[in-house]
Amino acid sequence: MNLIHPTAIVSSKAKLGTNVSIGPFSIIQDDVEIGDNTSIASHSVIYNGARIGSDCKIFQGVSIAHIPQVSGIKDVQSQAVIGNRVTIHEFVTIHKASKEQGQTRVGSNVLLMAYAHLGHDSSIGDNCIIANAVQIAGHVHIDDWAIIGGSTPVHQFCFVGKHCMIGGGFRVVKDVPPYVLAGEEPLRFNGLNSVGLKRRGFSSEQLENLKHIYKLIYDSGMNVTQAKEAIKEKYSSDPLAKDVTEFIEKSKRGIIPR
């Protein structure tokens, strides 16, 4: 049974699962899909193109799949796709993609805290935590398990690797490779995210390996390309090393310095 408040405006064309609840003054437009057990609190607007998974909690004043903030854009047929068990706090804005059939994506088990913004064509992986007022621009890709501290702006086209932790209040203007801590102004490598990795069951051997890998990149005097080749040679069978080298290869803006 769906619980829709009498003051909510829900399009008859919207596809709602079972046990969906929609709070007062919320608006659900036509081209919207909402999974089972998802709750939407008051004053939220779910625009055309939103695809929301099951067991999500969406709180007050949230805007999902709104038209991207790109100058001169006309309304496009694109989507904002939200996974399962995602919690979205007050006044979060998630914009849909800027190209036809494009997608802005949020993975599963993600926590988006109050005032966070996710720009067009961006993606957030699974299990990420995006703290208060983090402003993520367009075309940004944030991998699984990343944590971004409060009030951090992320520049457009940046990549953030998996299991990263970025300190609050700094600015992300280059790519942040996986498994690291990043902080300071301008943003730089602050060592491995050891605490996070240990919590998620990485062995001390794996941590040791990663330490050596990042030593090659940041502490050996080699440039990034040379370091990448050295890692490939030395750790040819290590999947974590592969994550790092692949990240460096796909990085267009360059990785953060030491």
């Binding site: 003051t7 007062p24 004053h43 706090h89 926590l111 805290m113 005032y115 007022a133």
Partner: protein
């Protein structure tokens, strides 16, 4: 006479004082108390656990006493107390407490401007002024009369003494002793909050005393415990000195540096 707009949704269980005004599309939940002459602006939501004093003004789309963004929160009963005379501007989010302290407190005559966030278990003392987009983490204590300029962030568990000024855009990750002005990343001591102190009735002698205390603490080359001894020796039984020393002794995160 209580004035409730016809589109507002006010629970019959909520206890409203006299002359309370509730704007269009605002929502007041069950377990709420609102004191006399208070105003709740349009689209604001006052959730269960809110205790709003008299003469409080809450403007549009604020979220008062929403559940905390904290993993240890499991739906326990807690409060969000807003004491008399405070003004809460648009889109502000005030979260209620967790089991740790059971309440979030906003003191008397506090001003909280647009988009600012006060997290669970915070204690904001009287006459604090919080500017736009200030993000305050959980368990933070802000001393009486402090001024947090726009975009400042306060890390969880930090304590700010009274009459502290945080300059625009800076970030507190350690405790800030009373009476001082600070800025930069990482946060640094920049002198006394003279303007705030004069406005609050501190005389020239007291400001001079404070200057000499902080000179010993930050400009003498001594470490903190040596500086504490020297302050005790040179000022003896001085009220201001003991206030500063008590703050330093109680600090668990350590105080900011110069």
């Amino acid at each position: 006479m209580v004035e409730i707009h016809s589109t507002a949704i006010v629970s019959t269980e909520a206890r409203l004082g006299v002359n309370v005004k509730v704007g269009p599309m605002a929502i007041i939940k069950d377990d709420v108390e609102i004191g006399d002459n208070s105003i709740i602006g349009s689209k604001s939501v006052v959730y269960d656990g809110a205790r709003i004093g008299s003469n409080v003004t809450i403007l549009n789309s604020a979220s008062i006493a929403h559940i905390p963004q904290d993993k240890k929160f499991h739906g326990e009963y807690s409060l969000c107390i807003v004491e008399p005379g405070s003004i809460i501007y648009d889109f502000v989010t005030l979260h209620r407490g967790t089991e740790a302290s059971g309440k979030t407190v906003i003191g008397k005559n506090v001003v909280i401007m647009h988009y600012s966030h006060v997290a669970h278990d915070c204690y904001i003392n009287d006459n604090v002024f919080i500017d736009n987009c200030v993000q305050i983490g959980g368990h933070v204590e802000v001393g009486t009369g402090s001024l947090l300029e726009s975009y400042t962030q306060i890390h969880q568990f930090c304590k700010l003494g009274k009459f502290v000024t945080l300059i625009t855009g800076c970030k507190a990750t350690m405790d800030v002793p009373p009476f001082i002005i600070c800025s930069d990343k990482p946060l640094k001591y920049k002198g006394l909050s003279e303007e705030l102190l004069r406005k609050s009735g501190y005389d020239e002698n007291q400001i001079k005393t404070l200057n000499s205390i902080y000179n010993i603490l930050y400009n003498s080359g001594l470490n903190i415990s040596q500086a504490k001894e020297k302050i005790k020796d040179s000022l003896g039984e001085n009220e201001l000195a003991s206030e500063v020393l008590d703050f330093i002794n109680a600090s668990s995160r350590g105080i900011i540096s110069k």
